[in-house]
Symmetry: C2
Protein backbone atom coordinates (compact mmCIF):
# COMPACT_ATOMS: atom_id res chain seq x y z
CA UNK A 1 0.00 0.00 0.00
CA UNK A 2 1.02 3.57 -0.44
CA UNK A 3 1.08 6.02 2.45
CA UNK A 4 1.69 9.73 2.68
CA UNK A 5 3.33 11.25 5.76
CA UNK A 6 3.16 14.98 6.30
CA UNK A 7 5.78 16.23 8.71
CA UNK A 8 5.21 19.76 9.91
CA UNK A 9 6.69 21.89 12.64
CA UNK A 10 4.86 22.19 15.94
CA UNK A 11 3.21 25.47 16.77
CA UNK A 12 5.74 27.91 18.17
CA UNK A 13 8.76 26.23 16.60
CA UNK A 14 10.74 28.54 14.31
CA UNK A 15 10.43 27.78 10.58
CA UNK A 16 13.54 29.31 8.99
CA UNK A 17 12.77 27.86 5.56
CA UNK A 18 9.29 29.39 5.55
CA UNK A 19 10.63 32.70 6.84
CA UNK A 20 13.26 32.86 4.13
CA UNK A 21 10.77 32.02 1.40
CA UNK A 22 8.53 34.80 2.75
CA UNK A 23 11.44 37.24 2.71
CA UNK A 24 12.38 36.27 -0.85
CA UNK A 25 8.77 36.59 -2.06
CA UNK A 26 8.53 40.08 -0.53
CA UNK A 27 11.81 41.06 -2.21
CA UNK A 28 10.41 39.81 -5.52
CA UNK A 29 7.47 42.16 -5.11
CA UNK A 30 4.76 39.83 -3.79
CA UNK A 31 3.50 42.32 -1.24
CA UNK A 32 0.23 40.44 -0.63
CA UNK A 33 1.99 37.48 1.00
CA UNK A 34 1.41 37.33 4.74
CA UNK A 35 3.07 34.13 5.83
CA UNK A 36 4.71 30.94 4.59
CA UNK A 37 4.98 27.60 6.33
CA UNK A 38 7.14 24.78 5.05
CA UNK A 39 5.99 21.17 5.28
CA UNK A 40 7.81 17.99 4.30
CA UNK A 41 5.95 15.09 2.75
CA UNK A 42 7.11 11.54 2.10
CA UNK A 43 5.19 9.15 -0.12
CA UNK A 44 6.10 5.65 0.99
CA UNK A 45 5.27 2.30 -0.62
CA UNK A 46 4.90 -0.45 1.96
CA UNK A 47 4.35 -4.14 1.20
CA UNK A 48 1.56 -4.54 3.76
CA UNK A 49 -1.97 -5.69 2.95
CA UNK A 50 -4.08 -3.77 5.42
CA UNK A 51 -4.45 -0.08 6.17
CA UNK A 52 -3.86 -0.75 9.88
CA UNK A 53 -0.58 -2.58 9.31
CA UNK A 54 0.60 0.06 6.85
CA UNK A 55 -0.24 2.84 9.30
CA UNK A 56 1.50 0.95 12.11
CA UNK A 57 4.67 0.59 10.04
CA UNK A 58 4.63 4.28 9.09
CA UNK A 59 4.15 5.37 12.72
CA UNK A 60 7.20 3.30 13.61
CA UNK A 61 9.19 4.91 10.76
CA UNK A 62 8.21 8.36 12.00
CA UNK A 63 9.32 7.49 15.52
CA UNK A 64 12.61 6.00 14.45
CA UNK A 65 13.64 8.22 11.55
CA UNK A 66 11.32 10.65 9.85
CA UNK A 67 10.12 12.98 12.60
CA UNK A 68 11.79 14.63 15.56
CA UNK A 69 9.22 14.49 18.40
CA UNK A 70 10.62 17.65 19.97
CA UNK A 71 9.73 19.86 17.01
CA UNK A 72 7.57 17.85 14.59
CA UNK A 73 4.00 16.70 14.35
CA UNK A 74 3.06 14.23 11.69
CA UNK A 75 -0.03 13.16 9.85
CA UNK A 76 -0.36 9.86 8.06
CA UNK A 77 -2.69 9.11 5.20
CA UNK A 78 -2.86 5.62 3.77
CA UNK A 79 -4.06 5.54 0.18
CA UNK A 80 -7.69 4.57 0.23
CA UNK A 81 -7.74 5.29 3.97
CA UNK A 82 -8.49 8.41 5.97
CA UNK A 83 -5.99 10.89 7.40
CA UNK A 84 -5.14 10.11 10.99
CA UNK A 85 -5.19 12.85 13.60
CA UNK A 86 -1.84 14.57 14.07
CA UNK A 87 0.39 12.73 16.53
CA UNK A 88 2.59 14.35 19.11
CA UNK B 1 -6.76 33.34 1.49
CA UNK B 2 -4.56 30.40 2.22
CA UNK B 3 -3.03 28.27 -0.50
CA UNK B 4 -1.03 25.09 -0.46
CA UNK B 5 1.62 24.40 -3.09
CA UNK B 6 2.99 20.92 -3.53
CA UNK B 7 6.28 20.82 -5.35
CA UNK B 8 7.33 17.40 -6.50
CA UNK B 9 10.01 16.09 -8.79
CA UNK B 10 9.09 15.26 -12.38
CA UNK B 11 9.00 11.62 -13.40
CA UNK B 12 12.48 10.37 -14.19
CA UNK B 13 14.27 13.01 -12.12
CA UNK B 14 16.49 11.53 -9.40
CA UNK B 15 15.21 11.96 -5.85
CA UNK B 16 18.32 11.64 -3.63
CA UNK B 17 16.41 12.57 -0.47
CA UNK B 18 13.82 9.87 -1.07
CA UNK B 19 16.53 7.35 -1.95
CA UNK B 20 18.46 8.08 1.22
CA UNK B 21 15.36 7.82 3.39
CA UNK B 22 14.64 4.46 1.74
CA UNK B 23 18.18 3.29 2.43
CA UNK B 24 17.99 4.42 6.06
CA UNK B 25 14.61 2.72 6.56
CA UNK B 26 16.00 -0.55 5.16
CA UNK B 27 19.01 -0.30 7.47
CA UNK B 28 16.65 0.21 10.41
CA UNK B 29 14.94 -3.05 9.53
CA UNK B 30 11.87 -1.87 7.63
CA UNK B 31 12.16 -4.56 4.98
CA UNK B 32 8.61 -4.02 3.68
CA UNK B 33 9.38 -0.55 2.31
CA UNK B 34 9.52 -0.50 -1.47
CA UNK B 35 10.02 3.14 -2.33
CA UNK B 36 10.08 6.66 -0.94
CA UNK B 37 9.39 9.91 -2.74
CA UNK B 38 10.04 13.30 -1.16
CA UNK B 39 7.68 16.21 -1.74
CA UNK B 40 7.94 19.81 -0.57
CA UNK B 41 4.86 21.73 0.50
CA UNK B 42 4.45 25.43 1.22
CA UNK B 43 1.37 26.83 2.92
CA UNK B 44 1.09 30.46 1.88
CA UNK B 45 -1.23 33.18 3.18
CA UNK B 46 -2.12 35.68 0.48
CA UNK B 47 -4.15 38.86 0.97
CA UNK B 48 -6.34 38.29 -2.07
CA UNK B 49 -10.11 37.97 -2.02
CA UNK B 50 -10.83 35.52 -4.80
CA UNK B 51 -9.63 31.99 -5.46
CA UNK B 52 -8.63 32.97 -8.99
CA UNK B 53 -6.45 35.87 -7.86
CA UNK B 54 -4.86 33.78 -5.13
CA UNK B 55 -4.09 31.00 -7.59
CA UNK B 56 -2.70 33.52 -10.07
CA UNK B 57 -0.36 34.94 -7.44
CA UNK B 58 0.81 31.49 -6.39
CA UNK B 59 1.49 30.43 -9.99
CA UNK B 60 3.64 33.55 -10.37
CA UNK B 61 5.49 32.69 -7.13
CA UNK B 62 6.16 29.17 -8.39
CA UNK B 63 7.50 30.52 -11.68
CA UNK B 64 9.71 33.10 -10.05
CA UNK B 65 10.93 31.34 -6.93
CA UNK B 66 9.42 28.13 -5.61
CA UNK B 67 9.73 25.63 -8.45
CA UNK B 68 12.44 24.84 -10.95
CA UNK B 69 10.61 24.11 -14.23
CA UNK B 70 13.37 21.77 -15.39
CA UNK B 71 12.84 19.29 -12.58
CA UNK B 72 9.66 20.23 -10.70
CA UNK B 73 5.93 19.95 -11.20
CA UNK B 74 3.64 21.77 -8.86
CA UNK B 75 0.07 21.53 -7.69
CA UNK B 76 -1.81 24.41 -6.12
CA UNK B 77 -4.77 24.10 -3.81
CA UNK B 78 -6.49 27.21 -2.58
CA UNK B 79 -8.30 26.68 0.71
CA UNK B 80 -11.97 26.23 -0.09
CA UNK B 81 -11.00 25.73 -3.73
CA UNK B 82 -10.11 22.64 -5.76
CA UNK B 83 -6.66 21.34 -6.58
CA UNK B 84 -5.50 22.51 -9.97
CA UNK B 85 -3.95 20.07 -12.41
CA UNK B 86 -0.17 19.83 -12.14
CA UNK B 87 1.59 22.48 -14.18
CA UNK B 88 4.70 21.95 -16.24
Amino acid sequence: MRARVEIHLKKGVADPEGENVLKALKLLGFSSVGGVRSIKVFEIDVAERTTAKTRGAIVEMCRKLLANPVIHDYRIKVEGGRASTPRR
